[in-house]
Point group: D4
Chain length 251, copies 8
């Protein structure tokens, strides 16, 4: 039951005390806090439950739709984030919320209002090649919006292993590591072998031919021979950072 036991107990007490009739109680039990935008129910409860606000997946939404949802979320939450967005979508948001920013590389729209750092340590975001940067930046922006310190380690792919090793120190200082890589997706195995903290692997669709839009990388990561690696969906920089943020908040 999504409604927690305490609030139910309170309902029962109010019924006992006569402040509430049984029917009113059933009514209240059902009155869960939804808001109806017509095409999407926003769930403010979820912020309490999952520790963070819902994030908007911009792809496939019209600028108007996106702006409307964005503005709605902006009424209540701290920071607001929309991923996979275009400049056109940003323009529509910008009209409603002048403080919204566009992160070009990450293709994300951000409204930063809560500067607080919730993360206990640093999240390292590692990427294999230049083409993986959009996914890595989506992870960076997400992690920052969720209140984390972030360290970038870009272009340290496994075919030039010394580049990665030269940045070993930064890796070692991280509390959790996000690794974005396409093609053969080998980087999480190597990074996982170097560090003693959780590694979140994000396969990217970078590559061609037998990379099958990220499937080769995804399979590589699922079979990582380092045991501290878990994997999220292809190009899901947001998801990688979301998981990393939850881990980094644990105290």
């Amino acid at each position: 039951m999504a409604v927690n036991a305490e609030s139910i107990r309170r309902l029962f007490r109010e019924v006992r005390s006569g402040r509430l009739s049984p029917d009113e109680a059933v009514q209240q039990l059902r009155h869960l806090p939804f808001e109806d935008l017509g095409f999407a129910k926003l769930d403010h409860h979820r912020a309490l439950r999952a520790g963070m606000s819902e994030v908007i997946f911009g792809q496939g939404k019209t600028p108007a739709q996106l702006a409307k949802i964005f503005a709605k979320l902006a009424e209540q939450n701290g920071n607001v984030l929309a991923t996979r967005t275009t400049r056109a979508q940003f323009a529509a948001v910008k009209k409603k919320l002048r403080k919204a920013e566009y992160c070009e590389l990450a293709r994300a729209i951000v409204l930063r209002r809560d500067p607080k750092i919730y993360g206990k340590g640093t999240i390292a975001v590692v990427s294999a090649g230049t083409s993986d940067i959009p996914v890595a930046e989506e992870a960076v922006v997400t992690a920052e919006v969720m209140g984390n310190r972030v360290a970038r380690l870009y272009d340290v792919g496994v075919a030039g292993i010394h580049r990665l090793l030269a940045n070993h120190g930064a890796l070692m200082r991280a509390r959790v590591v996000i690794v974005c890589a396409g093609m053969e997706g080998a980087l999480p195995s190597v990074v996982g072998g170097l560090v003693g903290v959780p590694v979140i692997a994000v396969p990217t669709s970078v590559g061609y031919g037998a990379s099958f839009q990220g499937v080769a990388a995804l399979l590589g990561m699922m079979n990582a021979c380092a045991s501290n690696v878990s994997v999220v969906n292809i190009d899901n920089g947001f998801g990688g950072a979301y998981v990393a943020s939850l881990i980094n908040r644990l105290s």
Copy 2:
């Protein structure tokens, strides 16, 4: 460089002070602590680096091979764990190490010597159906051997959602959740939506026909609509618990 900067600096200092010749220093630099068993190099360094000892993957090894590696690891580490093992392999280990135990359901051999609890909170291990239990138990044994408190929530698949909800409290108390599910692999999405902590999803090969030995579950989990889910390989209960343990150790 896997050898950390401090030990290199020490080497330079000893060279400077004359206690070591340059050639001896190069020699020492290279003298990494490997042991050679003939067919597998055990890496004691890794315990320091990754925070835990190497674990033996029993499948495909002869009882004699397994017992030899197990005994070797037992010389130095605290707890020792071998997964995907058979009763025959256990018999061979038992002859060398009388305190080794066999966890039938988990198909694991364990030597428990370090009873210390390293985890900060509880790891909940959730499984969808009866057939997922071997994978879930592998996760439980691994998590326990790595010094965690574990709470089991078995047989709470999504087709009987009230069973899961009836155990909502135990879920909410966990610091990290491992979810093992085969068939459609839907459970991590539901669990992920209920809790605000990291969820490690372990697809199992349970199912038939279009489950493709766990591929359907794996894909389901990669596409989980809850953002706090990351995924390990099919039937990889060990890996799920390894990641969960690292997360649970963070302080």
Copy 3:
């Protein structure tokens, strides 16, 4: 034999009575009611056999082709439906049939002439996320055109299970349920576990990366752990509603 026994018997009787020569009888036997539009044979018999008129699949047809077929069907049947259509196709139809309507969300052209309710109960159309709505609406329009009462339950995905549970009553009142979901396709399992009526699952191509344009959802639904679930093709909202309508007509 598609021609039923009764009409054959009648033919034999007319031959016996001399009203028909054997050759004329063979001729009549063959004279099945086809009409030839040049590029598509419309089958009016099928309305009798399958209980409903043929529906036009608009995708890939030119506005002129679509309008021609639509008008032809409109000569004889009650309601007429074309799915996967564009505004341009609608414009061409509109010129021929002024009462035709365009259902924007469902991308469907409808000519409503038969307002009769044939369905015995209500069909619930459930969708997981905002992006699944076009498929869900195609199901809604189809079910309505086929003479059913429809209840919409949108945006009740499994990662916010309380939203679904809050609508439990509407689900329970349905005689048959259509569930549209992309990504991991978990919703039919959960809904199937809640209701005691048939659930028609419609995987949608919503998602990215390892969703493989709906394959992950399709596999998830094929492996649904609830036994009352059967599945139609990806994005096939029409097919889901067609099956549901047949079920709902049974008396």
Copy 4:
């Protein structure tokens, strides 16, 4: 919430009347009727909700495990069914329940105690080839145990279309049709075009080479050009009959 509104209302009323304290009420709310067998929670509620008792999937269970679950279910329900069973499993069940029968072709164990017919009409079970019979028989046994009249139409594959047409009458009399076919899985399309009732397609793993253990048949059925076809998992005769039974019970 799986617990329905009525019982909650009753709880509130009892609290109001003082027959129950708020804490007792919360307690009762939670006391959902599970039984714990150690490795599988049986859900008697589900019979009420889904209209039928849980069915045992025998594959992978030891004779002892199967017999134990079977006996447990036999304590409360009417008919009991276990699918994908072996003669050895049946022997174990037989010892506990002398009236249990073994359906050789269907590989099912049945305990028939409720002879009542719940279905409104006849379910036709159609199979393409001789090798599809085990799956078809699983459907037949399931449908019978669930209280349906069943008509078998076997060996009427599409390469000898006249065999199917010769049985057209039986098809036309069915209220719902189950079609089991392997290889190219074409039969549901043809049957679907002949009848005006719902067709449940069950792909079988019959075939070799490019049949990929039923994948070719599954894909064929997902793409059936008849609109009244929905599909269940490969070799899932039980699932096909379960859906058909629910449909056949609707009144």
Copy 5:
């Protein structure tokens, strides 16, 4: 309608003449010549229609089942053939039909009674490697039983192209060519480029790793750059020869 127009016309004439009542005529129309063995309907009509008798697919049948079907077919047809059979199945057949032979390499049981040559020319059966011989021999036996002259060209794979070219003459004399090849399945392209007659390609499951049990060969053959190539299922030597026989009979 499988029943041809002529016999229907005859029925009408008999009705006209009064020799048959309309009801008797309908009855006769339906009386199609099936025989019911309980588990498989044999179709003697098909011999007339398709020009050859049905062939038994032995795999998965018990010796008793196979022998029963074999004997039944032997009552009426000329030659009888069962493919994918074992020595045990042959023993059962042998008891009933002393003249049955077992073709070891082809794994086929044959009863040769009609020595007539129906084919107009020679069928060349070409195989790439030694391991492809069982499939090639199944093709040879099938072609012979169907009354064709056959020329074998074995072990002429593309990596030793001169072996194939050295047998160029035999290829050129064939009226239709069957090519069996596993691994990369390249042989049909080369053979297709050398001859001006139809080439039936039979992919075999020979290979390992990325041959995926014949899928690589199948795909290779589907993409053959010679235009005179068409393809049958993996390891389907029988099917290749059946198609080749039909072609070779054309006059």
Copy 6:
């Protein structure tokens, strides 16, 4: 050796007689009749060998490239055919060869100069749905250009089996049948069961979702339960007709 034995023998004779020096003979042996267009070697020999001229695959070629190759082939052969062409490509060809025609539905450019009928019988081209017509028409044009009589049977898909049966006579008169079908690709099985001649199945990419651009149809056809079916590549109407033409020429 592509060069036949007779011409080699002649060379040896000329060497013996002194009309040719050994070195000249080796030179002549190598002088195979190629022409070099810079980007494609046309092979006039092949017309002799394979019985027909090479056909141009238009897709991906610029209008200029296509026109150049087309004109080159037109210098020597009878009919010339280019498939998968656009109106723009046709315009370029038209400028060079005024008699070239464009077959809109088939997307083919044809230059008809040889009206001779080479085929012994009629080729029936059967298609399942309206959308399969472009592929079917490519087959028709190819078969006609290669000197065959062609009978079209369109829109006779298996979900309306009586439409196919109503055209049974035309099918029965064909010497070879080409069947084009997308979606579940079931039509070749049904047609194959009705006729006693070779059936060439052409899967089309018609469909959506789980049709996977023709893969479902391809697999269906590979597993056709009628034995007289062989298959060519997806959308390869040309290939189907090429094979059918070779068969139809056999005497």
Copy 7:
């Protein structure tokens, strides 16, 4: 360790001699020669290690990005190569480096400054069809830029095997052979059987339908029955030539 032992020894010696403090030494050890362009670290060391300069993969880069990287590489290396480029990218490069050339067929930008021949023999680049030429030309340009003599053998696909055999001499003279082929990818097997040197197979995405954008060719080549074949990624003409160049440099 990417830094070789000799340079480390030198560091130790300088520390010993007092020319360097331990801390300075650690500093130097870390000072690996990277340059930071902001979005891509160029690795000049790699030229020393791998024997050749890094090559730019143009696809997905803006003209400005490409030109910047190209110019940076041009500061230090001999020849510079960018593959998968467009005319627009070339225009941007041309502005910075007037001597840059564009290879239309190969879609490559080249700056040739080092005319030296490093290869010991000739590299033969073989292609199956006209459409494979872009990939083959990428291989040719790469091999030339890396200092090799190249022999082209184009349009010698296996369906016209005599064309290949007519060029047998050129093949036999090559020290290493690159074979580019799409569709069924059979050419490397045939070529591999003819020559006694390494064959690098490059599958191309040429084809349609069941070629799956080069997957059929890739699988064909992985299963090549000639043992001297190894394979690179689909359309990876560059990679094929890179490997061939390394082989051709060996002395």
Copy 8:
């Protein structure tokens, strides 16, 4: 033409001189040196062409078949090798050839008679994990039989990158490197980045779940971000060594 120009020229000369009649010459031209064992044609020419004798693939052959082929090859060649063999096959060979040896780890039968070293340098055989050793040993045995010096580097997987780096020297001394790895197949990328010589990658079927019997490793290697990597089939240690040997022989 597999027969080279020189021998043809010689034939012409003998015809010119009258020592040979034209017909005898044609006869000789055709008399290619095949031997017919009934089930496999051995090709002694190939030793001359490809530089090495044919190797026997033992899998699926009976001990008797294997021994017969082995003995036949032993009549003429130097070293003889059979891969994928069993102890039973070895026993049969041993009876015929007392000097044959069995390489347990490599599962290979070897007859060593030619101790000559043909390779110019050393071949390094690198393997990722203990389970990859059988494939690596097949490569080692093959390379040795073909006359190469071999250096083994085992158990140096990427999750413990320092193990690989500690063996950097041995890698740098190799003239060609073979890398065997299963699971994610990342090792060739790392090794490829460290060395400047050709790397032959051999994916192994080591792994479980999403490793798909080596497919994940194969895809990883096809997408290796190091350009000096080419790939052979899964578990094809022999093929890797064959290619490496050809490279190592080049002078």
